[in-house]
Each structure stands twice: as C-alpha cells, then as structure tokens.
Subunit: 338 residues, 2 copies
Amino acid sequence: MSKPKQVTIVEVAEAAGVSIATVSNVLNRGGIRSSKETIRKVELAAEQLGYRRNTMAAGLSRNKTFEIGLIVPGLTSYYGQLAEHLQIEAHNAGYHLSVFSSGGFDPDIERRNLEVLQQRRVDGLICHGLAMGFESTRSIVNSGTPLVLINGWDWPEDISIGSVNLGFAEACKQSCQVLVDRGCTVLCYVGSKVSKVIDEQRRMGFMAGASQYGSQLVHEIVEHRELDMEAYLKDLLQRHSAPVGIVAFDDHVALKLLTAANKLQLNFPKQLQLIGINNDYIAINSFPGISSWDIPYSYQAKMAINKLLNKLTNQPETDEVREIEVPLVFIERETTKI
Amino acid sequence: MSKPKQVTIVEVAEAAGVSIATVSNVLNRGGIRSSKETIRKVELAAEQLGYRRNTMAAGLSRNKTFEIGLIVPGLTSYYGQLAEHLQIEAHNAGYHLSVFSSGGFDPDIERRNLEVLQQRRVDGLICHGLAMGFESTRSIVNSGTPLVLINGWDWPEDISIGSVNLGFAEACKQSCQVLVDRGCTVLCYVGSKVSKVIDEQRRMGFMAGASQYGSQLVHEIVEHRELDMEAYLKDLLQRHSAPVGIVAFDDHVALKLLTAANKLQLNFPKQLQLIGINNDYIAINSFPGISSWDIPYSYQAKMAINKLLNKLTNQPETDEVREIEVPLVFIERETTKI
DNA sequence: CTGTTAGCGCTTTCAG
DNA sequence: CTGAAAGCGCTAACAG
C-alpha cells in the first residue's frame, strides 16, 4: 500500500497564489524577509492544507540534516538516562537525536548502526566509546562526520573531535578515602568486565586510592560475575578484621552485594561498608540506603552537544579541552554513614 | 563548515563504466538482475570509492522510508527494554526504528516528536498509548500513517490499527489469588498515578481479584506518592491480622515497600507479602527477592512490529485481533513463598 | 540486461 | 520582495 500523498509546497504555493520559492522562504527560512501580506497568505494556506515539510527533501537539498546520531550500549539505567538528556539538549539546539542501542556491547551492531547513521547523513555522531574497533571508527572519520565520545579515554585526535568523560577514576579513588576514613582496613573493588573501558577506569581509580595507604591497607579486586557473593563476603570477613570496605562497579552490583550481606545479617557500617556508582533508584531506595556517586546527566549531555555544535557551526577554535572530565557527586547513605 | 561531499552513484557509475540506473539496480535493488560481470564491476567501484547510499534521496524518490517512529514515555526500565526489543525486531524486518522519549508523560513533547516523525515521513508509528490527547492522535491518522499502540486500551478503530497490550489486569487479579492462597486476609494495591492508563488497568485487575472473595477479604487502594510507607505498613499491621498482602504498581514501588518493611523488621511472608510487576533487576536481586510478573518483551515487540508490517505490506486482511493481549508470567520469590 | 529520462519535494542563486 | 530554474542523489518506468 503506497503512502497517501502529502501536501507539498507546490500546492501551498497554488493556494496562496505565489511561487514555491516564496513559500519556501516564508515557511522554512528565517532569514529572508517577505511582505506581511505574503507571509499571511502563505501561512494561512499552509495551515489550511495541513502542510508538513518533507525532511528528506530539505536535507537533500541543503546537504544538512540537523540530525545527530547516538550510539549507546543499551537503553537502561545510565545509558537510557543519558540518551534522554542528550535528546533534550539536541532539541534545544535545533537538532534531532537518533538513538541507537548496540545491544549490550556488540561491535557488529555498533558497526551496522554506524552505517545506517552515515547513510542518513547525520551531521554529527555521539558514541559511548567502546567495542567498536579501530576500523569502524576510522570509517566514520574518513567520511568527515564529526564524532564526540562519551566515556572514551585517550582516543587519537584524528578520530574523535573530543570526549566528555565521567570522573570515574577520581570517584573510586575518593571512595577509598571515604572508606578508610570510616575505619576500613580492607578494601575491595568488585568490578564488571561487561563494560571494559569503564571497569578499567574504576579499577585504576581504586588502585590509586588504595595504594595511597601503602601496606597498612589490604586491598583486592574481583569480578562480580564470577562471584558467589555470600560466600565471598563471609570469607572476606573471616580473613580480615571489620569493617571491610567495598567499592562496587555500580549500584546494580552494589545491590547484589547488599542482598548477600543482608542474608548473612551483616551490619552496615560496622562490619561492612559499601559504595556504589550512579546513584540509581536502587541506591536511594534500598535497605540500607547505598552510598553512591551521582551523575550530572544534564551537564554531561550539554557538554557533549556543545562540543559537537562548536564543530558543526565552525566556532572560532576556542581553547577548548579535548577531553572534558565531569566530576561525580558523592551521596552518602547508610552503607557508610557512621 | 559544509559537509564534505560524499560519493554518489554518479561517480560509481563513471568508475564502473556503466549508467547510474545500473548502479542503482545492482547496489540498491534486489529484484533486478544484471550480468555477473556488471555486478562485479559496480560492486568493486562502489567498494573502492566508499560509496554509501543516501537514505534521503532514496526515500524521497520511492516515497517510502523504511523507518518506524517510536514514542515512549522514557528510556529507562520497562520502556528502555521495550525500545531495545522493538529496535531489534524492526531491524529484522528491514526497517529502522527512530526512538523518541516524551520525557515522562509530557503531551507537548509527544506532540512535537510526532510532528518530527511525520516530517521524516516515517512509514509507521508505534506509541505507548497515553497522554497525547485526541487531537494529536487525530492528526496522525489524518495524514495516513498507520499507528500501533503499546498498552493502549479501547482506542477507537479509526485512530490506531490496533494495539499490543500487556495483561496487567489479569496479572493483578491473579496476584490477589496468589496472596489469598498464601493466607492473606487483607489485600492492598499501592498504585502510581504517574502512569494513568496503566494504573487503571492494574487497579481494575486488583479490584476484580479482590472482590471475588466478597466480605471475607478486606482490600484497599492507595497511591504510593502520597504515602509514608513505614507509617502505612505499621498502621496496616495494627489494623489487621497478618499476613497482609500487597500488590505493588511495579518493582520500583515494591522496592520502596520492601525497604520500609525491612526497616520495621517485618517478616516475609508471615507478616507481609508483596508482589511487584516487571521482574526487574530489582525484584531479582533484592532481599528478600520480590515475587513479580515477567514481561515477554521480545514477544510484545514482535507482535507490534508485525501488526504494523501487515498493514504496510497490505497483507490479506487476516482475521487478526485488533487488541492483542500479552500475558505476563509469574515469578515467585521470597516475598510470597511460604 | 542496460541506459535514458522524468520525477521525488525542497533550497538557493540570480534576475526581474 | 518575488519568481524561474537548476540542482540535491536516487528510483522507476520505459525503450532499446
């Protein structure tokens, strides 16, 4: 079934008794001035006929789509929130954001999405820096579409125009300090290699934080997927003197740990202390409440869109930082509060 | 900065020494056969030049975009998951899904997104049936874009071609039965008017389930946002004999209740029983685990896309149900398990 | 099997 | 201030 024909400027032009160029001027171009009378006629005709600009035709004609492509690993939790905020910011800037999920970190899907986005001739791209290998990334840059990375550390300058990264390392480092302050003598980072780059950042930060205290502090790193959490916690508390401090990969992992701890009837913060990341619904509403790091979504989104737009509108080469670091904000709750 | 010019079929045609029509045939049209030799030449040229089809030009020319627009209230939890699955199914069917969030349930944003989607000339629309009033919806139908609703009950036939709804009412009804089976003599539904239509369904189901038992069962309905949960639970248990059964709006609300219960050191399932909906990460990993209703995302997504595609490809008017009901699956955990 | 040609709907000089 | 006309890149008859 072919689509019913939509109203075009031709019809509007006829109805208004002017040329199509004039209609285009009045309706879709701000800059050009027309007589009040013409404007009125055209707008009236357009209104009555239910005219709706054809984005494809416009884009084709001006070689600009006002569309930004976004590729994130998924649409839940952090990624979903981020996508929402980016959509808002893009809209505020007069752009439209096309959101794609790479289905949990699948490089093939990433590549495919990238391809689709390119075929749509998006003006710019925002990607959560990850699985997509060098080639895929190259192919973007080669075609000249500016790329901003979210949480992409140390990417070569010729591939992305920059990145906006959350300060995970710093947060984890400071988590260590908090835990030591609260009396912990053993620190443990429970990571998640599902998200490789991010896990790396957090591990780095944890290491930096823990090693500050030298040999007076025991610390270790484990992977949550390979863990029987109850057994692990039990063992941990047998091996060491309380309180034990845990830095969790995020609030989801933290919840698992919390549950294991609750089953073992461990006491927060006397025996165990726990810090998550994301300040999710989970952290806020669990029992006990999980200390966590809040993410300034809106700010991160603004930064990313700005970076892209600066490039797109060819702003004077500001002395802009290539890698922007967005600091997280600590929210303390019962898992650490003494 | 104008975008660098991309390779077009003209250039590919020149390089391959054939006409542009032939290039188009080989590259973008499956049906038309060409000689092996021609195919080889064209594909080689395209490959070497890095040709990438311009979606806009193609769409404009054939009056078909192979794009489906999706509007959901948000991109977290259920909605995010749904969007991901729809994206997968759309792709499997050769379509591309443009995902939009209406930022909570904002009718203005909904309207705006709808407008954008129409301007893109999407072939079809999928909307989570809600805030958007009659007018907005009308304007879609008027323009002839087929619309499938997700969780949209009782919409007029001339507006949407159908809907795919989750069996919330039935789930809530059965939740009541489960709770009574487990010994509850008092039932309570803790709803959330944030999502009006959905809350209605759940409340209806709850009422139907509870009233089955006549006067031997006390039941009541409250709104979670107006509730001091601890105080409420305490009061509930003072007023009635245990166990009290609670049907929560979803797992998020359930978590809040769970936390309140834990603070009061209530015993599951002896004093309190609790059932959520969504079978979220939360329900699975909380302590105690929350009994919940699992959502067949993949199935729901398939149904929705199929419905749309049947219309788009003008399938023989199957004796298809207009409103498909997708049943949820009960997963029992410690909050009810005796 | 391949090429010619007329659009798709809109933007954008460039004359009037 | 307005309009004629030349595209944007691709597809779809229709001839050859």
